[in-house]
């Protein structure tokens, strides 16, 4: 009986349950989320204004006439539960994005920014 108790004690202390949590961020710091969307005005704001305000983009796309600037931040988070017989891990990746379209003269034609942390 003592051996059984000893085994149970060892099992409880050395191979007991555990949990995992980690998070990571990758990409451009989302300064656009701190700005009022009214900062950007279609037909008025220029490409230089956006670059000055938001910074260097993740991606620049050359359009037939004009350009697009694309900003991206990935937030990933993983939560794990380790029980001896059952283990679970949930990993989520959410993105904060901003996109700006400019005409050939470099003037803003359309734009969209994600709102709130991890918004689409």
């Amino acid at each position: 009986m003592r051996l059984l108790l000893a085994l149970a004690l060892v099992a409880a202390t050395s191979v007991g349950p555990g949990c995992i949590r980690n998070s990571a961020r990758r990409g451009i710091e989302p300064t656009w989320m701190e700005l009022d969307p009214a900062t950007f005005e279609v037909g008025e704001t220029t490409r230089a204004d956006v670059l000055d305000t938001v910074g260097v983009p993740s991606q620049v796309l050359a359009l037939e006439e004009g350009t697009a600037l694309y900003y991206l931040l990935e937030r990933s988070r993983a939560d794990g539960l380790i029980l001896l017989l059952y283990n679970q891990r949930v990993e989520s990746s959410y993105f904060d994005r901003a996109i700006f379209f400019f005409d050939g003269a470099g003037v803003l034609t359309e734009f969209s920014v994600s709102e709130g942390a991890g918004a689409r």
Partner: protein
């Protein structure tokens, strides 16, 4: 009595199951996506309603926006046969079984040169991604079902490294030139001449 308990305890401790879930982007509301009228809605309307897209591309003045959400679930069962047969045999034999499935939603918008919506199409499906079993004679921990394609790095994070890739890969994946679902197979369509993922994708 103690010996009688040891065997069931060893059997119980030698088996375990794991569930791994992967969620990429927030769940997509397809009814909202289908509410846009072709020939009327503008690029600005879609952006204002759905936010920035997951991927976008441009060809000859036309613009494509892709929105996508992915849910993937993988289940694994492991059993150390050696410990069940003989508690002192250790983990010389291990049986593993795993399966995974996906639930995916995607919407593709195509806009004309004047940024008016030409067409919108939605995709929603659930599919078993694969299942696999193995018996190992040594103890290893590995992914049972390959999910590398779905975990690919967004194009926006692939910058100058593309210059080091083979010319076919660089031409096809160059910024914004190609809009495709996560995990799309290579060696088909625009990727017909690509080397395999393992050979060419540095991510």
């Amino acid at each position: 009595m103690i010996r009688g308990l040891l065997l069931p305890m060893a059997a119980a401790l030698s088996a375990a199951c794991s569930v791994v879930e992967l969620r990429i982007d927030r769940d997509l509301d397809l009814t909202l996506c289908e509410s846009f009228t072709e020939g009327e809605a503008s690029l600005g309307d879609v952006l204002a309603s759905l936010g920035p897209p997951v991927e976008f591309g441009s060809r000859g003045g036309e613009i494509a926006l892709l929105y996508e959400s992915v849910r993937l679930k993988e289940s694994q069962l492991g059993l150390s046969l050696g410990a069940v047969v003989r508690p002192d045999a250790g983990d010389y034999f291990k049986f593993s079984y795993g399966s995974s499935g996906t639930r995916r939603k995607a919407v593709l918008f195509l806009f004309r040169e004047d940024h008016v919506l030409e067409t919108v199409d939605t995709l929603q499906f659930e599919e078993p991604f694969g299942r696999s079993g193995s018996i190992q004679v040594i103890v290893t921990v590995d992914e049972v079902v390959g999910m590398g394609g779905l975990r690919a790095t967004p194009d926006a994070f692939v910058d100058a490294r593309e210059l080091l890739n083979s010319i076919q890969w660089s031409q096809n994946s160059a910024h914004g030139a190609l809009v495709e679902l996560r995990g799309a197979r290579n060696r088909m369509g625009q990727h017909a001449m690509d080397p395999s993922w393992d050979e060419a994708d540095p991510n």
